[in-house]
């Protein structure tokens, strides 16, 4: 099922085979192999700083944040071109990334015209609710 509600796209499937079309989980790097757990000594866990690094955000620029916790993907599938890059022009309906929660993918759109100035999260990493993902400088 493919739902578009406002600025959100939802792909829903209970069919595991459907992953081949819409899912990236097969190669998702953020999911550690279960068999590798519990055998190696602990490595200290660090809570990543969810705030954007560097200086303050210029007024009028748009910060696109994660709508929920999930795995952040910059391309529609493994090996495909990225949705966007720093310096790229985007329109309001431009796709920026996918956020995956248990094989359910939400497309995040720019919501504004402008230029991508920052991409804060890495492809395949876990992002948290409200975490800044993209910084967009609007067209003058």
């Amino acid at each position: 099922m493919h739902l578009i509600v406002g600025e959100t796209d939802l792909f829903l499937s209970k069919d595991r085979n459907a992953q081949t079309q819409i899912s990236l989980t097969a190669t998702a790097p953020a999911v550690p192999a279960l068999s590798h757990r519990a055998s190696v000594p602990a490595t200290p866990m660090e809570t990543p700083d969810p705030k954007p690094h560097g200086s303050k955000i210029p007024s009028g620029w748009t910060l696109v944040k994660a709508p929920s916790l999930g795995t952040f993907y910059r391309a529609p599938k493994p090996g495909a071109p990225m949705f966007t890059e720093i310096g790229a022009q985007v329109a309001a309906d431009s796709e920026l990334c996918l956020i995956e929660v248990m094989k359910l993918f939400t497309t995040l759109r720019a919501g504004t015209h402008g230029t991508i100035r920052e991409i804060y999260a890495k492809d395949g990493e876990l992002v948290e609710f409200d975490q800044p993902l993209f910084l967009i400088e609007p067209d003058a």
């Binding site: 866990m45 929920s68 916790l69 248990m102 876990l126």
Partner: protein, 461 residues
């Protein structure tokens, strides 16, 4: 953070408030690392600061954070967790969460999904109790409509109580003393149950007029071995919500207590129950009979009173069992000593019909000392958000005798200072000072029928 969990495992805590903090500390004491999943409202709380890592699941609304099983399991997998503790409330008794954990290779610290379903449906739980020869009030299976209800109630004999098959907490429960009352209330009860649980199925039981709520704490090993940790008396309730709990239930004779424990163990052994659970009974003071009510397939709010009299750490026991650190427990190792009482500190204003009182706590000074324990996740400066249950702390006291425990509780309540929000502490003080509480002659309707009218008079209304 894809990295490798330590040898003792990494626990995901899928809850908030005092039980999240309690579970974090229990797990860390066992050498586990803990990841806490929070809503945006709880990102700066004591739990978030105590866990080894905290992830923000979603916005404050529980629907989009603490009640979203997919989000929680995704967070647990992505942070390399090996086990998940659901606490109480929220998703703790949803088989779906236990199932998702199993699919993803995460150990669910609780019963199997099958057990959760079996005891969660009250009609199937009654069938289970019947098969295990556990006493029940005379009652019915699913009731089809008003006419069916009237026919069955005639057979059982009035007064009767309607109950929702899909859940508890008082919703869908109506006491009827005659056919007219039952006919008048039935459809509304169906609607209430449907709204609360998505399922309007009701059944009917004989209503016990003067009852105590007595429950037995157990832990099962999943292979038919079940050990009990004594019983609790939780008869001080308002609208089926407990306010004060005690262990042991001082009203029971040793013979009845033994039969009660045996019934609870027999019931959960019959389904090879795994991990912590509670079997709730109604106790008829006049006839000294007890009747099965329901099974709570999780750790309960009031578990600390059982810990106080047994010396056990039930949350650590849950974790040890789930992670395979122990295979089970032995009844001969469980001993009880003294008397314990828990009072729930709730951010509600008893002067204004118990309206919830969220807000900023400007001063938090809980009591401390010998035999006093306070379980909480709040501190001075904490903002109590309006989105969740309003219980903010549990005050647990332990003494050699019930009298000593009551005196200790009274003194501890006098020392408990909370400023910035209203709480039920003034009401708790009145309960503890009341002759009926001291003489242990209360019942499940006492708070509403005896104490609250007196409280309103005292408050000048």
């Amino acid at each position: 953070m894809p990295d490798t969990a330590p040898s003792n495992g990494r626990l995901f805590v899928a809850n908030r408030g005092e039980i999240a903090l309690r579970t974090i500390r229990a797990a860390q004491a066992l050498g586990m690392e803990v990841v806490l999943g929070v809503s945006a409202a709880d990102r700066d709380g004591l739990g978030a600061r105590t866990a080894n890592r905290c992830v923000v699941l979603g916005p404050a609304q529980a629907r989009d954070s603490y009640l979203n099983a997919g989000l929680i399991v995704h967070a647990a997998v992505s942070t390399g967790c090996t086990a998940l503790h659901p606490g109480y409330g929220f998703l703790s008794e949803r088989a779906e969460l236990a199932e998702l954990c199993a699919q993803e290779g995460i150990t669910f610290v609780g019963p199997t999904p099958e057990s959760i379903r079996q005891v969660g449906d009250k009609i199937s739980a009654r069938a289970m109790a019947r098969a295990a020869n556990v006493p029940m009030t005379s009652g019915t299976d699913a009731v089809e409509d008003v006419a069916h209800a009237l026919k069955l109630a005639e057979e059982i004999g009035y007064p009767v109580i309607t109950k929702a098959s899909a859940g508890g907490g008082g919703r869908g429960m109506v006491v009827a003393r005659n056919a007219e009352e039952l006919a008048g209330a039935f459809d509304q009860a169906v609607m209430t149950a449907r709204e609360a649980f998505g399922d309007g199925t009701l059944f009917i039981e004989r209503y016990v007029e003067v009852a105590r709520h007595i429950e037995v704490q157990v832990i099962g090993d999943g292979k038919g071995g079940v050990v009990h940790f004594g019983e609790r008396d939780c008869s001080i309730q308002r609208r089926y919500q407990k306010m004060i709990e005690e262990a042991p239930a001082a009203i029971l004779s040793p013979a009845v207590r033994k039969r009660l424990h045996e019934a609870a163990v027999r019931l959960l052994a019959s389904i090879n129950y795994r991990n912590a659970g509670t079997v709730e009974f109604l106790y008829d003071t006049t006839t000294e009979e007890f009747f099965f009510m329901e099974v709570n397939a999780r750790i309960q709010v009031e578990h600390p009173v059982s810990e106080a009299i047994t010396g056990a750490d039930l949350v650590q026991a849950q974790l040890k069992l789930a992670t395979g650190a122990v295979k089970g427990f032995a009844q001969k190792d469980v001993h009880t000593a003294g008397h314990a009482i828990e009072a729930r500190i709730i951010a509600e204003d008893p002067d204004r019909d118990f309206i919830p009182c969220p807000g900023r706590i400007t001063r938090w000074s809980p009591p401390s000392g010998e035999g006093i324990r306070v379980d909480t996740a709040v501190e001075t400066g904490t903002l109590i958000p309006p989105y969740y249950d309003s219980m903010i702390a549990k005050l647990i006291v332990h003494g050699n005798t019930r009298v000593e425990a009551i005196d200790r509780l009274a003194a501890a309540l006098d020392d408990f200072v909370v400023e910035g929000i209203a709480t039920n502490i003034p009401l708790l003080k009145l309960i503890v000072a009341h002759e009926d509480f001291r003489s242990n002659t209360i019942n499940t309707r006492w708070l509403e029928t005896v104490l609250l009218p007196a409280f309103r008079v005292q408050q000048g209304r």
